[in-house]
């Protein structure tokens, strides 16, 4: 392969080495989050476009916020984890059957009435 001196650029292998320890879940989850935050897609559309499941997105949010979750007690870690679950499944829950919708409603109530609502834990 020729090394064209007129073609000034850091080589792709250089960038690959910098990113080699980043998991696909972390990379794709971060892109989904950005795409939603900047209004390119709804969460449901972003997950579909980037081929990430809701469960994978919950896993991404848990890993990303591991530090924040671990500073609170274990009881509230559950509420924090539920928050990410509720966020990820909000859109698909519209097609749940009655019992599934009831579960989601109860989870939303738990999350939205939690005292943790007042701190930054619920900022994914």
């Amino acid at each position: 392969m020729s090394f064209d001196l007129k073609y000034q650029s850091d080589h792709g292998s250089t960038g690959e080495e910098l990113i080699m320890n980043v998991s696909e879940l972390e990379e794709t989850g971060a892109v989904v989050e950005k795409a939603v935050r900047e209004g390119y897609f709804t969460l449901a559309d972003a997950l579909s476009a980037y081929r990430l499941s809701e469960i994978e997105y919950v896993a991404y949010l848990l890993l990303k916020n591991k530090g924040k979750l671990e500073v609170i007690d274990k009881e509230n870690q559950v509420v924090g984890a539920l928050y990410y679950l509720v966020e990820a499944f909000h859109a698909p829950s519209a097609s749940f059957d009655a019992s599934g919708k009831k579960v989601m409603k109860e989870l939303e109530t738990i999350v939205h009435t939690s005292p943790l609502r007042d701190n930054n834990l619920f900022v994914a």
Binding site: D10, E17, L18, K34, A49
Partner: protein, 249 residues
């Protein structure tokens, strides 16, 4: 990853360390030594320290002669440092080539070349260089890293790092290529990102290539692409993402 700016004063002793590495120093005007220029225009830049790390890690990767040069231009306010061996073969080439410049009152750095010979790729030589570089960029208050993404699949890789595309016509060219290569389902989100960005930012110079890079089918499109990008080190999101990657063990 938080990087704290560290003060540094470049002196004649730094120039001597650089000369001891074998660098040929060429300046305009010639009667103004490097030490009268670097601290004034690029404050806190430990250039000698950075060049020593490059030499330590990159010089052993090649049996070929190495060219080491520094060119500075005081009226133009540019500093160019070049470390490269004497081959045009990409698999054997080692190079580290950077230009620091001032534009519109801001400091920028152009990443001209960085690569190591094929047997040394993925062997841990790059991160220490980028870590040391990023520390210097913070020390100097550099605003943006400029890159021409393309060489060796860099069009895809640098997009994943969060570099944004600065030239709308280059983004349009990549979109045209995507139309030819992607299925109808695959092109829909690609098109949506393009349309929304340029609708919100007509003639915008910060197209989020990262949103394209992770879409199905776009890896191959971007691997063959060629675009000019930048990374804003004063943008908290761009800086955090890039520095997290660079400093990750």
């Amino acid at each position: 990853m938080q990087i704290i700016a560290q003060p540094y004063t470049f002196t004649a002793a730094d120039r001597q360390r650089i000369e001891a590495l074998g660098y040929r120093i060429e300046g305009i005007p010639a009667d103004r030594p490097l030490e009268s220029f670097v601290p004034a225009l690029f404050p806190n830049f430990d250039l000698a320290g950075l060049l020593e790390i490059i030499d330590k890690l990159f010089a052993p990767t090649t049996p070929l002669a190495i060219q080491r040069r520094i060119q500075y231009n005081i009226p133009a306010e540019t500093l160019h440092f070049i470390f490269r061996n004497s081959t045009a073969n990409e698999d054997e080439a080692v190079a580290f080539d950077r230009v620091v410049l001032r534009k519109g009152g801001e400091l920028l750095i152009k990443h001209m070349y960085c690569l190591v010979p094929l047997p040394y790729q993925g062997k841990g030589l790059i991160k220490p260089i980028f870590q040391a570089s990023l520390q210097q960029y913070v020390n100097m208050g550099i605003r943006k890293i400029m890159v021409h993404a393309g060489l060796g699949g860099g069009g895809y890789t640098w997009a994943r790092h969060g570099f944004v595309a600065v030239e709308p016509n280059e983004v349009q060219t990549i979109l045209n290529d995507a139309y030819n290569k992607l299925s109808a389902n695959e092109i829909t989100p690609v098109e949506r990102i393009f349309s929304k960005y340029y609708s919100d930012h007509p003639a915008g110079g910060e197209f989020p290539m990262i949103l394209w890079a992770n879409l199905p089918g776009m890896k191959e499109v971007l691997r063959g692409s060629d675009w000019n990008g930048s990374l804003d080190l004063h943008n908290p999101e761009q800086f955090r993402n890039f520095s997290n990657y660079v400093f990750r063990p």
